[in-house]
Amino acid sequence: MEGIDHRMVSVNGITLHVAEKGPKEGPVVLLLHGFPDLWYTWRHQITGLSSLGYRAVAPDLRGYGDSDSPESFSEYTCLNVVGDLISLLDTLFAGDVFLVGHDWGAIIGWHLCLFRPEKIKGFVCLSVPYKPRNPKVKPVQGFKAVFGDDYYICRFQEPGKIEGEIASDPRRFLRSIFTGRTLGPPILPKNDPFAENPKPDYESIELPKWFSKEDLDFYTSKFDKTGFTGGLNYYRAMDLNWELTAPWTGAKIQVPVKFMTGDFDMVYTTPGIKEYIHGGGFAADVPNLQEIVVIEDAGHFVNQEKPREVTAHINDFFTKLQNKNKSF
């Protein structure tokens, strides 16, 4: 963790906390975390990529960690968040960048590729594939229809509700998120939201090798301070985001993409997703999808669970793209 620079940058009307490491003249890699996560998720990639000559840049996205958390959920659409990131890129770096996104960071990444494709040399997307906007179905309604009322995204909608239920104990919530092994769509029953997750004497249960007590302490310290509302606001803005991204209905992603997932990631194991990823649908929507990698024996937080493999894959892809450009 030494050698990581931390700074506060004024962007798009807010202040973002940004962690950075690597040679100033190195190609920039912008790393975007998800929910409920932080720049810290990329600690291994920051170390690895910087030692390979990249300039690794990992912000706390708006609503998280040491960055600002605007009040209203309406300020958490992809338009707002991509606005932050474009402002960050324009302030700190010239030209185009490499992009890595995980979970919500992957969704933001897809939108960054839609809105400003010329800014992105290549995108390594972890866990969440792209789905073009469906003009007929609002996202939350769609999830409810397929997975029911207790699907986590539906349970996250009402402001304040899930905060009261499970996010009132950040450490417990974070533990269950990072160590959860349940496959398929996360369902949070109203009377028993932690259903398949650590039981009451949870502190005695061993943490996995890749997630230490110090890691849990770090996350807990940050989320104790901010709570989860900032992160939850991304979900609460999904329908609004759908409304505002009408201009990109059905649009394809043109940027070169590498997609990676752990083989028991709850997204990858949600019904329909494997077929979409491997059956050609994904490639049709992302014509420049160059590689699909399924990492064995890894769950949702693949960048933390198999850090060296993920870093190597990222470097592999970006090197390939750079060499392709050089040959001209």
Binding site: V82, D84, L112, F115, L244, A246, P247, T249
Partner: protein
Amino acid sequence: MEKIEHTTVSTNGINMHVASIGSGPVILFLHGFPDLWYSWRHQLLSFATLGYRAIAPDLRGYGDSDAPPSPESYSILHIVGDLVGLLDSLGVDRVFLVGHDWGAIIAWWLCMIRPDRVSALVNTSVVFNPRNPTLKPVDAFRALFGDDYYICRFQEAGEIEEDFAQVDTKKLITKFFVSRNPRPPCIPKSVGFRGLPDPPSLPAWLTEQDVSFYGDKFSQKGFTGGLNYYRAMNLSWELTAPWAGLQIKVPVKFIVGDLDIVYNIPGTKEYIHDGGLKKHVPFLQEVVVMEGVGHFLQQEKPDEVTDHIYGFFEKFRTRETASL
């Protein structure tokens, strides 16, 4: 006029009334405030004879199209979403685009965020203004021209509607259309739009039938739909942060009348002629200033405007693939 087809297209959650005529590469015409598809009546008829398919919608909030009640439904993203949906429903990949007034603003943004859907743009009256990173547009107008500047007077929901309601709609439309005063329109509350001088007579280019058409449509619909575009300006500014500093990369021809109120806003002439506009629109190929012409150029000098549009699009026509 009877040859013009009128259809209703379902797009982006609204019903959109569309006037169209002709066959060939598609030209999409976007009207402004307070206007309608009808603004383009001359161009629709002309381009049908010139081998194009001309399409002019009533934009969201106007005429025979739906008008959602809240200003939050009138951001640039909503309107561009309507138009992309319209193109998708027509099966048109790329269009020729023409804009006027608010339609010009929408046209600039369609080119900015979906340049892949536009072959070339002829825009009129309103230049592209780059996004100020720290100052919202309505706040900027207020600082520059004061609270009585028309855009500021349009902000408060219901307020200006009450002022408008005190004037016969046909008379109000005529006041808007016939104004030749090139100074930035500041209308103190004590005076109101009702206090604007009555035009002595109709100009040659605006007939009684035209005024009745507009009067009927706006009596029916009201002005709130159109006013909501102004009320959503600051929201649009917030939502277009991702494109801050980005140039518009579509071939453009820009036309404006030298008596147009917009052309005479301080700083605008210099911006257009001294390289400012070109910096943000690098493929700006031609700028035309029409002498003795006011804001509604496509109605005041229809044949000239048609010729300008035709001449420009013909340059790109051989490469154009979308034909209906």
